[in-house]
Amino acid sequence: MLKIENLHVEVDGKEILKGLTLEVNPGEIHAVMGPNGAGKSTLGNVLAGRDGFEVTAGSIRFLGEDLLTLSPDERAIAGLFLAFQYPVAIPGVNNAYFLRTALNAQRTARGEPELDAMGFLKLAREQAGILDMDDKLLQRAVNDGFSGGEKKRNEILQMAILEPKLAVLDETDSGLDIDALRIVSQGVNRLRDPQRSMIVITHYQRLLDHIVPDVVHVLADGQIVASGDKSLAMKLEKEGYAWLKATKTASEALTLAS
């Protein structure tokens, strides 16, 4: 599904990712954890193709294709989805209209028929219901005046409707209370599928209680310094990120983790 090799990324001339390697197979959920400033959000932004994140070395292959040559919309059409940590508000643009346009752009590109307004609205209402999301949010401007929790639900709603092959959830748990976290996680879990992979980026282990990952990676100083199963997340939760700093090399950390 996704193969990242020795990825180096600079932002404003400063190297953030320093040789990141990661492979995600179909159906797998990978959690990427790490302290602030480790480069977690950079990973999400690079995958989605944001300007200003300059790849200086390494490669990313998505479904066998070179992801880095694709524009953000081409990546979305290819099946990549980023749930934003801070979804931007777009005043004046109707949420339902936006989402239908996006869905139909993707369907058209894939040679599928467009969904009409009625069909779309039915689908959107259904999915909104599952996420315990007020229908009215569909008729408001995109994320405009939404609360933190509403924005995150709106992200998962888009994911449910666009049905990506690979979803990257960037700190989807931040700013959510326990109830909202549970609902959002349920929404995500419903989308688990042998053909769909996910990368869950988070600072805290608590999200992983709800969305149980197959693999947990620890990102520190621009590299994956440890990988393991869910117990690695538990260990991090218990001991904090400080123990990572004590370890000198990635291999040492790996040893510790296993």
Binding site: S71, A76, G92, T101, A141, Q158
Partner: protein
């Protein structure tokens, strides 16, 4: 400049008709003012950003006969199946009309028509503008022979809009129209204007609008004249107690379109709302000035503009509010947001507040920028290509102007016009 003035003062003289002694006197007064003030130059604060060079280069031959059937056909095509309580067509300085019966007791068309109050309206209102030193206002008074003149009676409410269509069939002329609209107490009216001039002509339109106590005017103007046309408009609005004026302007066309609106909130609780959309492309120059004077307590005014400029277009928005001593409880809001789409477009904004009263809430905001990069990335990350994402964002940017139109049919109609124009621009 005197050459231009000379040209304009004598343009279209064949249209001169007998206007009666009273009006003739006014015109002589006006002519003196024209000669006294001359035409504005870039040194005049309100014309700072708008040059008349283009007008100087042009000639303004006399008018010719017109084809009535063709005009009616064109007007009907413009209006389509919009609800209507009547249609007034101005072809140059000629007028055609077809009205619903409820208009029977309140309308007169020609300034010279004393029996229906045309002259009366003119003499009563014309010199109100005497404080202005803008030569074009006075030129209008010396030259205009026709216009839409009505006096809507007390308590009369006309639901469907009255449509006013502006056309021309000959190229490169100068036309003068003078409107006097009066709404008596508790009356209510919607007027929708459609300006579809073409060619390299010059339109000079003046409107005097009086709103009686508790009256309400919904006034919507679509300006989509041809890309060589010059349209100069002046409006003077006087509002009495608790009256409400809602003005919406869509500036989509013209080579040079300049409109100056002066609003007098003369009595308590009067309210004025302006929503303006300027969509400029090619070499268009669109210039909007609105000056609202709060003269009594508890009046409110809101001005809201969205400007999108591409090509070599230039936009000018001057919002001004003056709150007089004693006009306490005034509420003033102005906001202007502009977007430049090309390296050669230019925007000038001048939001002014002049406040001499206590207990006033006044604010203005003005921004100039381009498409928000974060929003662009967000849309594209959902699969929208560059063009689609741009269209959606610009559409969203301008949407709150058109959304102020309450009537569904009119809103839908204008939405289509805006979308078409944006598609051309993006």
């Amino acid at each position: 400049m005197t050459a231009l003035l000379n040209k304009l003062m004598h343009a279209n003289e064949s249209m001169n008709i007998d206007v009666g002694v009273g009006v003739e006197k006014l015109r002589q007064e006006a002519q003196k003012k024209v000669l006294q003030y001359g035409l504005p130059t870039l040194r005049d604060e309100r014309w700072k950003y708008t040059s008349l060079k283009l007008l100087e280069r042009r000639e303004y031959p006399d008018s010719t006969d017109f084809d009535e059937a063709a005009a009616i056909q064109q007007a009907n095509k413009i209006i389509g199946d919009l609800p209507s309580a009547g249609l007034v067509i101005f072809v140059g300085e000629c007028c055609l009309l077809s009205l619903a019966p409820e208009w029977a007791d309140s309308l007169s068309m020609l300034l010279s028509d004393a029996s229906t109050g045309g002259q009366q309206a003119l003499t009563a209102d014309a010199l109100v503008q005497d404080s202005s030193s803008d030569g074009f206002i006075w030129l209008n008074l010396t030259r205009a022979t026709t216009g839409l003149i009505f006096n809507l009676p007390v308590d009369k409410s006309i639901e469907k809009p009255l449509h006013v269509v502006y056309l021309n069939q000959s190229n490169a002329q100068a036309w003068y129209l003078r409107h006097h609209w009066k709404l008596a107490g508790n009356s209510k009216l919607t007027i929708m204007e459609h300006q579809y001039y073409s060619g390299a002509g010059l339109g000079n339109i003046y409107r005097s609008i009086e709103l009686g106590e508790n009256s309400e005017l919904n006034w919507l103007t679509v300006q989509q004249t041809g890309s060589e046309f010059v349209l100069l408009q002046h409006n003077h609005i006087q509002q009495q107690h608790n009256s409400l004026c809602k003005q919406l302007n869509l500036d989509l066309g013209a080579r040079l379109a300049r409109q100056e609106t002066r609003v007098q909130l003369a009595e308590p609780e009067a309210g004025y709302r302006y929503a303006g959309l300027l969509l400029g492309q090619q070499r268009q120059h669109q210039d909007q000035h609105v000056q609202v004077n709060h003269e009594a307590v508890n009046c409110s005014s809101q001005q809201s503009y969205r400007t999108v400029l591409g090509g070599h277009a230039r936009g000018v928005v001057n919002t001004a509010a003056k709150v007089a001593t004693g006009a306490d409880g005034s509420d003033v809001q102005q906001n202007t947001a502009s977007m430049l789409l090309s390296n050669t477009a230019e925007m000038d904004a001048k939001p002014e507040l002049e406040i001499y009263a206590d207990e006033v809430v006044a604010s203005h905001g003005a921004t100039i920028g381009q498409l928000d990069e974060d929003a662009m990335f967000y849309l594209r990350s959902r699969g929208l290509n560059m063009d689609l994402a741009r269209q959606m964002l610009v559409g969203g940017f301008v949407s709150n102007i058109v959304e102020t139109i309450e009537a569904d049919e009119l809103r839908a109609y204008t939405e289509v016009l805006v979308r078409q124009q944006l598609e051309q621009m993006l």
